[in-house]
């Protein structure tokens, strides 16, 4: 049996002090505890694999977004929107579609014992936060890949072309915030009784700053006559939000997993 030789990650994690002397002394096959990066990679890979097989989240989210645009057309009785209105419709739709993904994020783990499997492993528990947030981020990006062109096609008056690079920046910044809060709230809600209800109820108020930042930043991009660049203060707000909640999520996540 080959021995995996690997350097232990710098992160002073719990596995750093695993007693390996006993193992080595007896000649038992030594397996070096997996560093956090590899664990995150393994988790993310599993996550994406399951999603690819079941297609539970992404197609639903995307379809929901497109359908919502159609509903908005009839609800507003307008064929094209611009400026604040357009930004508002886009962000509300993205947010609600994201809730669908949030609701499903930990369901497979909770129902099939995935939490236990992870908790039994000698790994840093924040790895799950990171992996799940990255997965949710991936789902959101794919969602936007479908939703934004659909929006441009169905409802948006001014053309998307020029605004696209700036829009991308805003989307990514906001998505990080949604991913962090979404993962946190999903982990919180999945083990409660009203899990499908509590998720959105908790997430929506928490994400209001993201909606504010996102909508205010994209509104000039959808300007009727020409596209303006997003005001820097909103990009900063989004960035600050991502940073603060990223850190907080990292600090509290462990407490959600343990028993």
């Amino acid at each position: 049996m080959s021995v995996k030789t690997k350097t232990i990650s710098e992160k002073e994690g719990p596995h750093a002090a695993l007693p390996r002397t006993a193992h080595v002394r007896s000649g038992r096959p030594v397996h070096v505890p997996a560093g956090t990066t590899r664990v995150v990679a393994a988790l993310l890979r599993k996550e994406l694999l399951v999603e690819l097989r079941t297609l539970e989240s992404v197609p639903g989210m995307s379809l929901f977004a497109v359908t919502t645009f159609v509903v908005f057309h009839f609800a507003l009785n307008q064929s094209s929107v611009s400026g604040d209105e357009a930004a508002g419709i886009l962000w509300v739709t993205l947010l609600f579609a994201a809730m669908l993904g949030v609701n499903r994020l930990f369901v497979a783990d909770e129902d099939q014992g995935g939490f236990d499997a992870f908790l039994l492993a000698p790994v840093d528990r924040s790895a799950m936060l990171l992996a799940k947030a990255l997965a949710l981020l991936a789902y959101l990006l794919v969602l936007e890949l479908v939703a934004v062109p659909a929006f441009g096609l169905l409802l948006l008056g001014p053309s998307l072309g020029q605004a696209l690079p700036d829009l991308l920046v805003v989307l990514v910044l906001a998505d990080v915030g949604i991913a962090v809060i979404g993962t946190l709230v999903a982990a919180l809600a999945v083990r409660t009784r009203a899990r499908d209800l509590l998720g959105p109820l908790l997430a929506l108020p928490l994400l209001v700053p993201v909606v504010i930042g996102g909508a205010r930043a994209t509104s000039p991009l959808f300007g009727l006559n020409h596209a303006d660049s997003p005001p820097a203060r909103w990009l900063l707000t989004l960035g600050l939000y991502d940073l603060v909640f990223g850190l907080i999520a990292y600090a509290v996540f462990d407490f959600l997993l343990e028993d």
Partner: protein
């Protein structure tokens, strides 16, 4: 030093390895208690189990068997009392023993959409174990031919076999088994014997409903009732009648 090549699948660690340098027993519980709200799920459980020995836990449903196993697995924190597993005290040093414990619970802890191989590889990565080990175990539980199919297409017996493979994937010193032979036919039961049976020479804690079968495997017997130890004795001194009493 014994050849540790292929034989590691069949026989587990040598008994002496499972003790820490001080020669402590593999398990030492003193007044372990865990409550669930107002109810005592476990109370006043004390015992000592030497390395390589097998503890079998009997008791009716709700007696606390699963809770005990989960506490030992570091999945649940003890609310009172002292718990030392493999020389480390829980919950503070739980991270130090996590990689050395294998749990086989009611749930297989596997993803239904993934195949046996994918599931085992995932666990292997979590534990820092190489992929060759996955192949070895797939062979040992006779699942090589069905290793590519999603678990939801397999029978319960097969899933149980993969779950057993998962439990011993990282070659744990301590095995915690919650009714391990459920869903296994006699052939499969024999198949997994070297991995989780007495021959594996790992320290084991087994939760069982089968008085005669369980007793034969045990070195130490613990009978639980409403979370309290109703019976704690060397297996040799226990007869099946006393175990049946617990279920009354």
């Amino acid at each position: 030093m014994a050849d540790r090549g292929v034989s590691t699948i069949v026989s587990g660690p040598i008994a002496a390895d499972t003790e820490s340098i001080e020669g402590e027993p593999a398990l030492r519980l003193e007044g372990l208690a865990r409550h669930y709200g107002e109810r005592e799920a476990l109370s006043d459980v004390s015992l000592s189990l030497s390395a390589g020995q097998t503890l079998v836990v009997f008791g009716p449903n709700g007696a606390g068997k699963t809770t005990l196993l989960r506490v030992l697995a570091t999945l649940l924190r003890p609310h009172a009392g002292g718990v030392r597993v493999l020389g480390k005290s829980l919950p503070d040093e739980a991270w130090a023993v996590r990689g050395r414990i294998g749990l086989l619970g009611h749930e297989p802890l596997l993803y239904r959409e993934l195949s046996a191989r994918e599931n085992l590889r995932f666990h292997a990565r979590l534990h820092g174990v190489g992929e060759e080990r996955v192949e070895e175990l797939l062979g040992a539980v006779n699942m090589e031919n069905r290793a590519k199919e999603p678990l939801r297409t397999l029978s319960r017996g097969m899933v149980q076999r993969v779950a057993i493979a998962r439990a011993v994937l990282h070659d744990p010193e301590l095995l915690l088994l919650d009714e391990p032979r459920a869903n296994l036919d006699p052939a499969a039961s024999e198949l997994v014997e070297p991995l989780i049976g007495a021959a594996s020479r790992r320290t084991r804690v087994i939760s069982s409903h089968d008085p005669s079968g369980g007793l034969s495997e045990a070195d130490l017997v613990l009978g639980l009732r409403d979370g309290r130890p109703a019976l704690l004795r060397e297996a040799a001194d226990v007869d099946p009648g006393e175990i049946a009493e617990l279920y009354r």
